[in-house]
Amino acid sequence: MLDHNAPLRPKAGAAEDQRVIKLAVLAVGGQGGGVLADWITDVAERNGYVAQSTSVAGVAQRTGATIYYVEMARDTGRLPVFALSPAQGDVDILIAAELMEAGRAIIRGFVTPERTTLITSSHRIAAVSEKIEPGDGRASSAKVHATAEAAARRFIAFDMEKIAADNGTMISASLLGALAGSDALPFTRETYEQAIGAGGRGVKASLAAFGAAYDRARGIAGAAPASGTTETPSTSEAGPGVAKVSGPESLLQGWQQLAARIDALPAPVRDMALRGLKKVVDYQDIAYGGEYLDRLGRALALDDAGHAYALSVAAAKHLANAMCYDDMIRVADLKTRSTRDKRVRREVGVKDGTVLQVTEYFHPRIEEFCGTLPAGLGSYIESRPKLAAFLDRRINRGRHIRTDSFAGFAALWFIGGLRRWRRSLLRHKVEVAHLERWYELALGHVREDYALAVEILNCRRLIKGYSDTHARAQSKFDRVLSALDLVKGRPDAADWIRRLREAALKDEKGDMLDGALKTVASL
């Protein structure tokens, strides 16, 4: 029927019904972009169009960015000459299966304000480079949204991955729904559904996801909240948090007293202080909450409304984190709570009639062991390297503990119970000393340089991780603060400390930080 070598006729101007529609799909390998391209081709053919789809299947390229490309034109009996890959400025419909892929499409010039309908799922799949930063390496979604609004003729974005997952299928179905709902192609909804039906596998789930995305794209789903549903934090005021606490009456009374102290704080500090308070009380006890508020009081005494209480807010946040250091007791406590059991069951999706077994991965070393001993005994061992090494050989190995079993649970439950002696243990002594040094250092700067004091408090963010990672974090923290003497007195001292901290969060070993420190040294 279609003769590609038909005799040539004089060029007959591109009449509208001969127009070629160009559609590109940018996806992350494994998202089912090929299925989507096949469906689109099928829909086009069902509607009396000739269509051609191509891809670089790249069998090896499992998780990288991939492009599928479809061209279609009304079937007039002659086969159009279709291109095999999308060209800059020449794409009518661009479908991105992930938000950064939409960004990539814009960068590559496949999205133009005159003609391109850009349909993208707004969810994110973090690239490896975003995940491996010790800080928050994730790309800014807002920037992509903002550029897309300007770059595309029409911009349709919502979380299509969620729609697919909610319906138990792949994102290809919801992407097709969004395409159909966008009306960017002159085809009816039924023909799309026929194409899905012809696929034969998981048709029901696919159709459900298709329908939900179709409605969303049409804007019919009026009741649905706007994309990127931001749940407003529940504690904009101090009140609600108090109601959500339960426990024995005596402790509740103690809590009420602490909560009353929160209410007496300046308004800007209350939210963070309440969160911090809950964290430390949950970590240890009511008395620990009192200590927390006492410490916070030292910052407040130096603070004022003129600075919007920035120092106290930072103190409220970082004191709580510093006081809730991650020791064996905390880990064991968290892993043996009933709320944790419920969360695991929810996340894993345990259904009735099945049994859940949970294995924990621990690798204790002599350091953790000594930290959990009474301070005197702990430091006695630590100061004797031979003894420490001897014990380490017995302790230092991976332990896989089943917390659904009697023995495994009991062991962790017991360690979690050491909480009441925590204050007398070696780790606590070390942590308190460290905390006081840092806190004093910060508060000591308030008078000369308020902003610098806040930045010193914020450096607490650097301390995280366990074992070697924790040691590296400590070293970064020390290195950042080592610059204090160099920048002190400069008007931009706080800025420098902030920059150093941000550099420290960029890579594992702190190479960026070392570079930044060199810059500081040369000031």
Binding site: L2, P10, K11, V28, G29, V56, G58, Q61, R62, T63, V81, A83, L84, S85, A87, Q88, D90, M100, E101, R104, I106, I107, V111, I125, V128, K131, I132, E133, P134, G135, D136, A139, K143, T147, P233, K244, V245, P248, L251, M272, D282, A320, N321, L334, T336, S338, T339, D341, V344, G349, V355, L356, Q357, T359, Y361, H363, D404, K464, T469, E508
Partner: protein
């Protein structure tokens, strides 16, 4: 079993004359082979040819019915050597592989085949992996055609044209006693289109017939003096015959007006891109009708002098569209014009880039620039002097935002723990020189592992570390080779070489039971049974057979600790000679494909099944991401907590986790953090399971309630 099954599609290979075939380019090529009465087919997988091999493997019943012999060759050299069957016998044969990597491997056999020439049509279908998405170095197959003097077809990228090229190729091969290469670009292989089928043909002579009546002709054997005669025969007999065939059968096509001051010459594969550029310049319609004279080279080697010169007749300038470099075609045409004393100006790389893929934009710019310079009157006003519309949107900002997304290891990949262990060993013993190889394991060079300094060819990882063998060295080299590369070339070139030369380095053979990177085809050491191939030949036995004395076999790569210990031992042992570690675990992609339906069926059928999945306790995770720097697994990612006390996102494992165990093992081996847990869900638990669970939950619940009744509990904590 290959990753993609074509069991359903291959039924299209049975279509008869007049029926319409609809499907992918590779499937069309297979159908064309059968329509041409091919007698035997061989090849080696690799994009974009993998699917052609998979189609052939799935079509073995149909091939059998027609008496066509099919082989999954050991390498491209093997596949090309197989074409020796067409030297003395009038049997049509085809070999197929990825180019130029495969052509490099094949070139020994190709040179010998080309020297003696063929009697039956010999077609080499090369899948050109050039440009975007390519995983190999960017070179041209054209050079191979030139140096061995085999003919090269480069048809227009649509199904009728490539099917016709297969037919033409066999006839051209027979008419000129020369093997013919048919080049198909990657997108053309995967293009979805239509053509009208013909009946399949049984080969007039089968390989069985040939075996029953052996023939030989000393004049066809590559040995002096015959080989000297072959050189002359190539230029005196075979070349003119080929040129004559191409001219007579109008293999090359001419489109557009037959008079005009300018024209465009192009490789057939570039035709659609040229037309698109002309369409965008307002010089062609949807169907490719244009006033610009076009000379389309479906045969790019040899070129037909008089055909080209007559195309140039009366033209003031001609543009050559030739992708890749060096620009052999442009040079040859320039020489023709010069020798013929013609005044036509020949341009090419002046308007088009010397190197790189000719994308839509490149083509639009290049052809636009050519026409503006040589024939501005052809162009519509708005194209001749475009109003600088300006791209409008500034994307400079976005370039710094959007992260690169190179391919990497799949979810649950068994190779990930091998490189996690290597990274950990390097943290102990310092950096080492690491030689990589071709295969999935090459993703080790990317973040988060960043291991590996070179890649020198398939199966050549250890060979590429062979210079690093010095008695003065304090550190050993580490080299990697996959099971695919091992059987392709590595056994001799890498292992044998290391044994013979007493190399002291460490060799890790990554054994995932398949040629995984090319789509999961079976190889000698595959552990599954295969109806038509012999599998289950252990790599360890082959390595021992080569004379390796220090050999360790790890049968579960997810044991990061063991992997780490073994690597450390290999790097520090006093033993001389190569230290070989065979690290085996099944490719997760293939394993999931194999097991998932079985598991689902077993669960439905009421059998007791344990399904593992990993999770992260978000309140224990401190957001340092150390685990991700030893993983890069797509299902292990970051998520924000709705907690202003926490600045950094924490680790999170999504629903795609297959429970491979790497997360827990790495957390343990690297002493990371205790936030990972493995959740095993027992489906259809036995009565004992259920009894044990209820007893355990009673006791655990008691302990939990006891503690929780003595403390404050925060609902959102």
């Amino acid at each position: 079993m290959a990753e993609r099954s074509f069991a359903k599609e291959v039924e299209k290979l049975r279509l008869g004359a007049g029926e319409e075939f609809a499907g992918e380019g590779i499937l069309a090529i297979t159908k064309a082979l059968l329509q041409c009465g091919v007698g035997y087919v061989g090849g080696y997988q690799g994009a974009p040819i993998s699917h052609l091999m998979d189609v052939l493997a799935d079509a073995q019943d149909i091939l059998g019915e027609l008496g066509v012999h099919f082989e999954a060759s050991a390498s491209e050299a093997t596949a090309t050597a197989m074409l020796a069957a067409s030297v003395h016998y009038p049997i049509r044969g085809a070999a197929t592989f990825k180019s130029t990597v495969g052509t490099n491997v094949a070139s020994d056999a190709l040179a010998n085949l080309a020297s003696g020439g063929v009697t039956g049509g010999a077609l080499i279908i090369v899948g050109e992996d050039y440009g975007e998405g390519s995983s190999i170095m960017q070179e041209r197959s054209h050079a191979f055609a030139m140096k061995s003097q085999v003919w090269l077809l480069d048809p227009r990228p649509n199904l009728p044209s490539i099917v016709k090229a297969v037919e033409d190729g066999f006839e051209l091969s027979e008419a000129s006693n020369t093997p013919v290469m048919l080049q198909v670009r990657i997108r053309c292989c995967h293009v979805h289109g239509h053509f009208i089928a013909k009946d399949n043909k049984r080969p007039p002579m089968s390989v069985a017939d040939a075996l029953d009546a052996p023939r030989r002709d000393t004049g066809r054997i590559v040995l002096p003096p015959a080989s000297f005669l072959h050189e002359k025969e190539k230029v005196q007999k075979r070349w003119p015959a080929a040129v004559d065939f191409i001219r007579r059968n109008k293999i090359n096509e001419i489109f557009g007006s037959d008079h005009g001051a300018v024209g465009i010459v192009m490789q057939g594969g570039m035709y659609n891109a040229v037309i698109r550029a002309l369409q965008r310049l307002g010089l062609a319609d949807t169907y490719g009708d244009t006033d610009v004279p076009l000379y389309v080279l479906n045969a790019v080697y040899p070129l037909v002098d008089d055909e080209f010169l007559s195309f140039c007749e009366g033209k003031q300038a001609v543009l050559v569209v030739e992708e890749g470099q060096p620009n052999y075609i442009e040079q040859a045409f320039a020489a023709m014009l010069h020798k013929a004393g013609r005044g036509t100006r020949l341009v090419g790389k002046e308007h088009l880039p010397m190197a790189g893929e000719y994308t839509g934009q490149v083509m639009l710019d290049g052809i636009g620039s050519f026409l503006r310079a040589e024939a501005p009157h052809l162009l519509p006003g708005e194209v001749r002097a475009p109003n600088k519309s300006g791209e409008g949107v500034d994307t400079a900002d976005l370039i710094n935002v959007v992260p690169g997304r190179p391919p990497g290891f799949c979810i649950g990949c068994p190779e990930r723990p091998i490189f996690a262990a290597t990274k950990l060993v390097e943290q102990e013993l310092g950096k080492h020189h690491i030689a990589s190889d071709i295969g999935c394991h090459l993703f080790s060079i990317m973040p988060p592992f960043e291991l590996g300094a070179t890649t020198m060819g398939y199966g050549l990882g250890p060979a590429s570390a062979s210079a690093f063998n010095s008695p003065d060295a304090k550190r050993r080299s580490i080299s990697f080779v996959g099971d695919g590369g091992f059987w392709h070339n590595g056994l001799t070139s890498s292992i044998g070489n290391a044994v013979f030369n007493k190399n002291d380095g460490v060799i890790v053979i990554v054994d995932n039971f398949y040629s995984a990177a090319t789509g999961g085809q079976d190889i000698l050491s595959s552990r599954a049974g295969n109806r038509t191939k012999s599998t289950k030949h252990p790599i360890t036995e082959a390595v021992k057979g080569m004379g390796v004395k220090w050999l360790r076999h790890i049968d579960r790569t997810y044991d990061v600790g063991k992997m780490q210990d073994t690597l450390r031992e290999a790097l520090t042992t006093d033993e001389k000679g190569p230290k070989v570690i065979v690290a085996s675990s099944e490719c997760m992609l293939n394993r999931e494909r194999r097991e998932k339906p079985l598991v689902d069926k077993a669960i439905k059928g009421g059998e007791r099944v344990v399904k593992p999945k990993f999770g992260v306790d978000e309140d224990i995770c401190t957001g340092d991401h150390a685990c991700m720097r030893l993983s890069g697994c797509p299902s292990l990612s970051v998520k924000s907590l709705d907690d202003p006390l926490r600045d950094d996102p924490v680790a999170s494992i999504d629903q795609n986790c297959v429970g491979c165990g790497n997360c827990g093992e790495v957390a343990d081996a690297a002493v990371l953090c205790p936030s990972f847990y493995r959740a095993d869900v027992v489906h259809n638990p036995s009565r004992w399971d259920r009894f044990l669970e209820s007893a355990r939950r009673a006791v655990i619940g008691l302990l939990q309630r006891r503690r929780e009744s003595r403390r404050l509990t925060f609902a959102d904590a």
